[in-house]
């Protein structure tokens, strides 16, 4: 494989060996965990800031505006300014709110998204942990966030929040199905749940190109379901600012609100990166089998940028959805899931299984 120059496995192992040589294995592990945690925390904050800025600019351009342009050149420091503002704001607590749960809720939301980010491979060997049940773990962890939302809605002692939280609960529990089933289609093709395996299997062509129509259908369903899972428009019923003022985070302010806000963007990043990894080959460069010259040129672009590029395209798609469509109603959301996405998904999986049984697929 020619992209070995960007292989981080050796680099990671070198760090590991050096750490083990200077301290006991237990301390080495703790140090490694701390480093990884810090790196992810930094990455987390950075991605949050960039995505908020990007969302503002994208929606501004779609709406014939220029967007933030006062703080720094082209307004690039706007989100930092906003973040400082949020840090300095008073934390309002409601008198009759359940104080403990009220404070706990944003942490659950943010921890869920933080845990999910661990499995995502940013490059070869560049992931925190490579479970052999990667996708399963991810689905399990990412659905934890709904607990935070439910808690937030319940503990705020606000009727709008409660309605928002209940909507969110119904919605996420339903769409969890579609996300899982649509991710199964590529898993059937590839035959593994491990992220590194999924990426490696797409070396000769991304799944969306090699995986017949079922993968395309699965991708579309995944995009819809993932948008719904992250509570983004047109599925932002939990917030629904024109109906429920701000839904489950109506009563939150300051840094607690910032947590919800950040978690929303991180969730968006996570679902986009899963889509990029599973359907678009993750960090795998764009290869056309048989054209070696072209493939070599593609290999020189670092896999990290491939990964980010794909993720950004998918995030842009999600932003495009949000800023174009009106919001659905709660019963319509459930209708869409149970009457359209789920049956299509099941049929799709059957077809996929049939294709794999007959050996018609390209992926080995």
């Amino acid at each position: 494989m020619s992209f070995s120059i960007y292989d981080f496995t050796a680099f990671n192992q070198a760090i590991d060996q050096w750490l083990r040589s200077v301290m006991s294995p237990g301390w080495a592990l703790i140090t490694e965990l701390t480093i990884i945690g810090l790196v992810f925390l930094l990455f987390y904050a950075l991605v949050g800031l960039v995505l908020v800025y990007a969302e503002r600019k994208v929606c501004a351009f779609m709406q014939c505006r220029v967007g933030p342009n006062r703080v720094g050149p082209y307004g690039i420091f706007q989100t930092i300014a906003d973040f400082i503002k949020l840090l300095m704001k008073e934390l309002v607590t409601i008198r009759k709110a359940d104080k403990f749960l009220f404070t706990l809720a944003p942490f659950i939301v943010i921890i869920a998204s933080f845990m999910a980010i661990a499995t995502i491979p940013f490059g070869k060997g560049l992931h925190a942990i490579d479970f052999n049940i990667g996708i399963f773990y991810l689905l399990a962890v990412s659905s934890l966030g709904v607990i935070g939302i439910l808690l937030a809605g319940w503990s705020s002692n606000n009727k709008y929040s409660l309605i928002g939280a209940m909507r969110s609960g119904a919605q996420i529990v339903s769409y969890e199905l579609s996300v899982g089933l649509s991710l199964l289609t590529p898993c059937i093709f590839i035959g593994t749940l491990q992220f590194s395996g999924i990426v490696e299997a797409q070396a000769n062509g991304w799944l969306i190109f090699t995986g017949h129509i079922p993968v395309v259908i699965a991708f579309v369903i995944y995009m819809i379901a993932a948008t719904a899972e992250t509570n983004r428009g047109p599925f932002d019923l939990a917030e629904a600012e024109s109906e429920l003022t701000a839904g489950f985070h109506t009563e939150y302010s300051g840094i607690k609100f910032a947590f919800f806000f950040l978690a929303e963007y991180m969730n968006m990043f996570i679902v986009a990166s899963i889509a990029a990894t599973v359907f678009w080959g993750g960090w795998m460069p764009f290869h056309i089998s048989g054209m070696d010259g072209f493939n070599h040129v593609m290999d020189f672009i670092p896999p990290f940028f491939w990964f980010l590029g794909k993720t950004i395209v998918i995030i842009f798609l999600m932003m495009w959805f949000k800023w174009t469509f009106p919001r659905l109603r709660i019963d319509q959301i459930l209708t869409l899931e149970w009457k359209y996405l789920l049956p299509i998904n099941l049929v799709n999986i059957l077809i996929t299984a049939f294709i794999v049984l007959m050996g018609w697929h390209f992926v080995k």
Partner: protein, 372 residues
């Protein structure tokens, strides 16, 4: 017979206060909504948060002074409100308004109607969650506001009409600007349809929601685009023409479904109709005075006077009881929003809370018009 009762709220019910500060009541309107799950059971509007007592204030003011207060009723159809009051006074005095004034007033009214419907469209889109609509609508409305600003001097509260004519003549650029706007907006209006009208989510959200039969619409006095969406032919311009409306050809869009979507469609069609009306008039504005001769102090002869006009939201009428003084003994503004609001409970009972927002959006409520 319709259940006209606005029921008292009972203690055990799950009620939420929608308003007075709520993103989609478009002002300080307060709905106390009783819910069964997500389903709306009762809606009870509470008004009076910005009641300014304009009718009472007017009893101490001279007639020309009242004109500027009518702006502040339905501020999105300020010209039309001015028109109603000025026509009432003119009719009471028996003043013949110059032809030029009639034409200009008609054009201004229609421009105002388009501007109002544009704002309604973008606010409706926003209520439905499509925020981008808001900016497209406002962008196009800006062009009309520029026309207003050039001729009338202000963008929202114009006070451009006065009893007997206009405050000042139109700006020389007026005709050209209006024509430019018409060509511009004829291109942009189909875009509205592509973005929102045709959208499957929007259609699913609005069709068969907020139903109102024709009989109920008549009984409620449910006028304007909202009434016409139920098949209630209530266009004052058609049935009791005023100004230059008898000189133009236009159709009254009527839909019989009576749901939110038909109310939406009526307004979209009305924008086209308004453009047609303006197009027929803009080249034929006759020369002449912009003001009929009026006395310095206007005193209406004793009696009762009424003038009905078609404002952007429905039938607006001014009712003046005069005792021969220089200020009215009693003045009453029949505001379309107030009457349409009376039907909100009837419209939204049994639908979801999200539908209540859509229904409110389709009525295009302007709160200062209710809280006169």
């Amino acid at each position: 017979m319709t259940d006209t009762k606005t029921p008292y709220l009972e203690q055990q019910e799950y009620t939420i206060n929608m308003g007075p500060q709520h993103p989609s009541t478009h002002g300080v309107l307060r709905f106390v909504v009783s819910l069964k799950g997500e389903t709306v059971d009762k809606v009870e509007p509470h008004l009076g948060y910005i009641h300014r007592g304009i009718e009472k204030m007017s009893e101490k003011m001279t007639y020309p002074q009242i004109v500027h207060l009518t702006d502040r009723l339905d501020y999105l159809s300020a010209h039309i409100n001015n028109h109603a009051l000025c026509m009432t006074i003119e009719k009471a005095l028996g003043v013949e308004v110059p032809e030029r004034v009639q034409y200009i007033r008609t054009i201004m009214d229609e421009l105002n109607r388009i501007a109002s419907h544009q704002l309604w469209w973008c606010a409706f889109g926003m209520d439905m969650g499509a925020l981008t609509c808001y900016f497209y609508g406002l962008r196009d409305r800006e062009k009309i506001l520029d026309i207003f600003e050039e001729s009338c001097g202000s963008r929202l509260l114009h006070s451009y009409y006065c009893p007997g004519g206009l405050m000042k003549d139109i700006h020389p650029n007026f005709k050209q600007r209006v024509k430019d706007f018409l060509t511009y907006f004829r291109k942009k209006l189909p875009e509205y349809d592509t973005l929102l009208t045709g959208n499957i989510i929007m259609q699913e959200r609005t069709k068969k929601i907020g139903l109102m039969t024709k009989e109920d619409a008549v009984s409620f006095g449910f006028t304007g685009p909202a009434g016409r969406g139920s098949g209630f032919s209530c266009d004052v311009r058609k049935h009791h023409p005023y100004a230059a409306y008898d000189k133009v050809k236009f159709t009254e869009p009527l839909y019989t479904e009576g749901d939110t979507f038909s109310r939406y469609k009526v307004r979209m069609d009305e924008m086209w109709e308004s453009m047609n009306i303006i197009e027929q008039l803009i080249d034929n504005i006759p020369d002449g005075d912009y003001q009929a001769k009026m006395k310095a102090v206007i005193k209406l002869p004793e009696g009762e006077y009424m003038q009905r006009v078609e404002a952007a939201r429905g039938e607006f009428s001014v009712f003046i009881v005069s005792t021969g003084d220089k200020s009215p003994y009693r003045i009453k503004f029949r505001s379309p929003n107030y009457c349409n609001l009376g039907a909100v409970h009837h419209l939204s009972k049994g639908f979801k809370i999200a539908d209540l927002i859509a229904i409110g959006g389709s009525l295009d409520l302007v709160i200062p018009d209710m809280d006169r």
